[in-house]
């Protein structure tokens, strides 16, 4: 007999069926690749750049979603493994900081909406209120922030290109 989904998994599946996530899918901003709870791989589209991919996959850890903020790392969806550093998104200022490789071995995005990153960064709560995770909202708040970065003037393509 298969195990019934946990509450956090049920809420996640409910959220990705709703307007905010599906609207992003319809606009080709992001798409769900796979779920193996508590992990979900979701790709986010990126602006065209020389040698740049159409999208970057992120592997989210969604334990206790949405009460607890997710944490995500760039993921190689084909190999089902962490994305090599040379393939991570790069840029001139904001993008390399968010996708930095020299912090926690690149296992989380350096963003206020990430539960690994917000720890020890209380100053972000007042400095970047619009980037904080809100437990009464859904996964699209994280995806929108990443989508903005990957479609900004700051983004230049993969780190190794």
């Amino acid at each position: 007999m298969s195990e019934s989904p946990k509450p956090d998994e049920r809420v996640f599946f409910d959220h990705i069926g709703r307007g905010p996530f599906q609207s992003g899918v319809a606009r080709e901003r992001w798409r769900l690749i796979s779920v193996e709870w508590p992990y979900a791989v979701i790709s986010v589209s990126a602006a065209p750049r020389p040698n740049g991919p159409k999208e970057y996959a992120l592997r989210f850890n969604l334990t206790n979603y949405p009460q607890l903020a997710p944490t995500a790392r760039p993921w190689d969806a084909e190999r089902n493994s962490p994305l090599e550093d040379a393939k991570r998104p790069h840029g001139t200022s904001r993008v390399p900081m968010a996708f930095r490789t020299n912090w926690k071995n690149g296992t989380a995005l350096y963003l206020p909406c990430d539960r690994e990153a917000i720890e020890g960064h209380d100053v972000w709560r007042t400095k970047h209120p619009s980037h904080l995770w809100k437990p009464n909202e859904d996964i699209t708040q994280y995806l929108r922030i990443v989508h903005e970065l990957l479609n900004s003037g700051d983004y230049t393509g993969p780190r190794g290109s």
Binding site: G17, R18, G19, P20, Q22, S23, G24, A26, R27, R29, S93, R94, M97, A98, Y110, L111, P112, H121, V123, W124, K127, H128, P129, S130, H131, R144, E148, S152, G153, D154
Partner: protein, 166 residues
């Protein structure tokens, strides 16, 4: 009965709502679905109108979805404000323009950066923030969701995107 999905935004609701309506239905079916999802619909004195995203003209509520040009996974907006007066502040200057409630924040930003003669590079590193708040609505949000009838106006500040560091 075959049904299609419509993305709906409107007065009184913060989120994008996904509604299902009959494929061969009419625009009024969307209004009924909107009511069920808590969208504020006006009465005889101040009726709500339905718009296709970024379109200027009101859609006839009696038209079929096909006649109205509303397709599967299309985006529409319902609001009592038929026009919204938008002002954007930047560098001690203010520019104003009237938009339909179905205009996206992205469309308003495109107009604003042009009005302020901003370079493409600078424009990409600025964002609209609602004046007097820290709220920075996403580019796909319709401006109608940010105002409530009868106050059919909104003010934004064009602010730089800040690098997260420290």
């Amino acid at each position: 009965m075959e049904r299609i999905e419509i993305f709906l935004q409107g007065e009184g609701v913060k989120d994008i709502i996904l509604v299902h309506v009959p494929k061969d239905g009419n625009v009024r079916d969307i209004l009924n679905a909107a009511k069920e999802h808590g969208v504020t619909l006006g009465g005889d004195g101040d009726p709500s109108a339905i718009y296709i995203e970024d379109a200027e003209e009101v859609v006839d509520p009696n038209a079929s979805l096909e006649e109205a040009g509303i397709r599967h996974r299309g985006h529409v907006h319902i609001h009592r404000c038929h026009r919204i007066n938008v002002s954007v502040n930047f560098n001690a200057r203010t520019e104003t323009k009237v938009f339909p409630p179905s205009a996206t924040v992205g469309r308003v930003k495109k107009w604003a950066v042009k009005a302020f003669d901003m370079s493409e590079k600078d424009a990409a590193e600025h964002i609209l923030q609602i004046t007097g708040s820290g709220a920075r609505p996403d580019e796909d949000i319709h401006i109608g969701t940010l105002v409530t009838h009868p106050v059919c106006r909104i003010s934004f500040d064009l602010v730089p995107k800040v690098r997260v560091e420290g």
